[in-house]
Amino acid sequence: MTIKNLIVRPTTKAVDSGDRLFTTLVGAASSIVVILLLGFIILLVVDSRESIRSFGMGFLTGSKWNPVATEVNHIQFGALPYIFGTVVTSLIALALATPLALGSAIFVSEYAPSWLGKPVAFIIELLVAIPSVAYGIWGLFVLVPIMRNVVEPFLQSTIGKVPVIGALVAGPPFGQDLLTGGVVLAIMILPTILSLSREIIAHVPRLQKEGMLALGATRWEVLSKAVLPYARGGIVGAAMLGLARAIGETMAVTMVIGNSSTKIGASLLTPGYTIASAIANQFTEADSPIYFSAIVELGLVLLIVASVFNIGSRLLIRRLARREGGSHA
């Protein structure tokens, strides 16, 4: 995503039948796009209707997910554990990825000479080309054992001893758990946050940097007192975009998060689900209309949450671009 302006091309009205046909064709293509988007949203809403009607807010707040009615339990779909898993793993990913991305962005933009900075940024941004399932398999066979055998026991022996915070790492280290899910997501969203942050930092007007420099600031001080404060909003926007990506990510998380427990507790070392992984794991079993509707509603919830952060990110960055356009160097 780049900061760009609306340019209007020179053109003229349709003059002959060729023009009319041409305009119709490209207009049709564009209309398909709009219809596709609208249809997308409408279909998701319509097909979740049944689930929404049956469970209402309980879908979001309830924790029981029973596709089968027995004498004791009714059919219930409460997605709270999935929402919880999504929130927790995405936040972990954000917390881990943002310092890495920001640190790299700062190094590449402000410290490294361009013959070093550009290739380094390129390499990190290559991470975005790696397919999600590749992250999944690496996560499953490489990261999970490391987490289970090295990292998590280590965390338990250090943070685990601290009161209150220790609850975050309580319980047996599964390896396939929320924490590992967060770590994999962090690597996946790192390039997104990095490339956007780089652009934002590059757009800080030179006059701001020179103003701080002229007061006798060191390089780091120009960064921390002039550049980063100015870029603050945009960087938050970059982080939000990363968060949106983490929320929507499916395969890598599915393969490392365990997909078993629906317990909502304080420990990050429990297996869990995210909304996306729940969909991926259960859709084949959606044999009843209500089950089907519940899965679609899950998709709708995911869409809404991811979109909120996407749009929020875009708004923040537009605001920064507007300000920068006004006080141009």
């Binding site: 006798g216 007192k225 002039a226 404060p229």
Partner: protein, 281 residues
């Protein structure tokens, strides 16, 4: 009618320049200064004397290297990738281009005001003023900062206008106020020199005059160098003027330097006279 006369009148009508007081700034001696942007030589072999207690104006047509010149004085020129300078600039006898000189520490002693006002938008007016103090000086008490803010803002005649909005964003002021804020910010750390690079080019005439009046008072405490493309401004506001010129064959160089009165009424070089009378540049 002699086109030089109106300018000469402006110069004559100002009150006589004050005598520089004993603790007014420091002198700057530029010797053999050349500055490059990569392979391109922007200014060549400049010898310039800048005295404390007076406003020295650097004038010349656009592209003559005035900005480059002034940016060499506080080593801002080399901040641009590939740019460097050769020669020496002595600040009170000390060469700021000496191999062991620290440009970061130098810049603290030399304040700069830029062409476009550049207050820090994420900081309040208050924080803008003390930005340099916060940076360079050890921590002060709140009262200390308050005092510094008021003192600086008063010296730029901004205190009354902004004393009720000290905690609004630095960017919320008008253009002229912003520039005076930048001057306040620059002098808050009590530099020895104040460099102003076409400070009024983005401002309206009223704001411009306010700043010129300011310079008149500030020169008692600081050595002031003013780059301007506006000859009337040089005539109004400066005591000494240096005229720069560049062309296809020559990088920017110093044509003539002297008391403003003399330069405008009896320029020694024909090119100076051409420029001042509007025939050149």
């Amino acid at each position: 009618m002699n086109p030089i006369r109106p300018l000469a009148d402006i110069v004559r009508n100002r009150t006589a320049p004050e005598n520089p007081s004993a603790n007014a700034g420091r002198s700057i001696t530029v010797r053999s200064l050349s500055a490059f942007y990569g392979k391109h030589k922007a200014i060549e072999d400049i010898d310039l004397d800048i005295h404390p207690g007076v406003v020295t104006a650097i004038i010349g047509p656009s592209g003559c290297g005035k900005s480059t010149m002034i940016r060499c004085i506080n080593r801002m020129h080399e901040v641009i990738a590939g740019a460097y300078a050769t020669g020496s600039v002595l600040l009170d006898g000390e060469d700021i281009y000496a191999p062991d000189a620290n440009p970061v520490r130098m810049r603290r002693r030399i304040g700069m005001v830029f062409q476009k006002p550049n207050p820090f938008p994420t900081k309040t007016v208050y924080e803008n003023v003390i930005a340099g103090i916060r940076l360079n000086l050890p921590k002060m008490t709140k009262a200390g900062y308050d005092e510094a803010v008021e003192k600086s803002l008063r010296s730029v005649a901004l205190w009354d206008e902004v004393k009720d909005k000290l905690h609004s964003s630095g960017a919320s002021l008008s253009g002229g106020q912003q520039q005076r804020l930048c001057i306040a910010r620059a002098i808050a750390i009590e530099p020895e020199v104040l460099l102003l690079d076409e400070p009024c080019s983005a401002l309206d005439p009223t704001a411009t005059l306010k700043i010129e009046d300011l310079l008149f008072e500030l020169k008692e405490a600081y050595t002031i160098v003013l780059v301007t493309h506006n000859m009337q401004q040089a005539a109004r506001a400066s005591d000494t003027t240096a005229f720069f010129l560049a062309d296809e064959r020559h990088a920017g160089h110093l044509i003539e330097q002297g008391p403003t009165q003399d330069m405008f009424m009896h320029p020694k070089d024909q090119r100076t006279e051409d420029y001042i009378s509007g025939r050149l540049g």
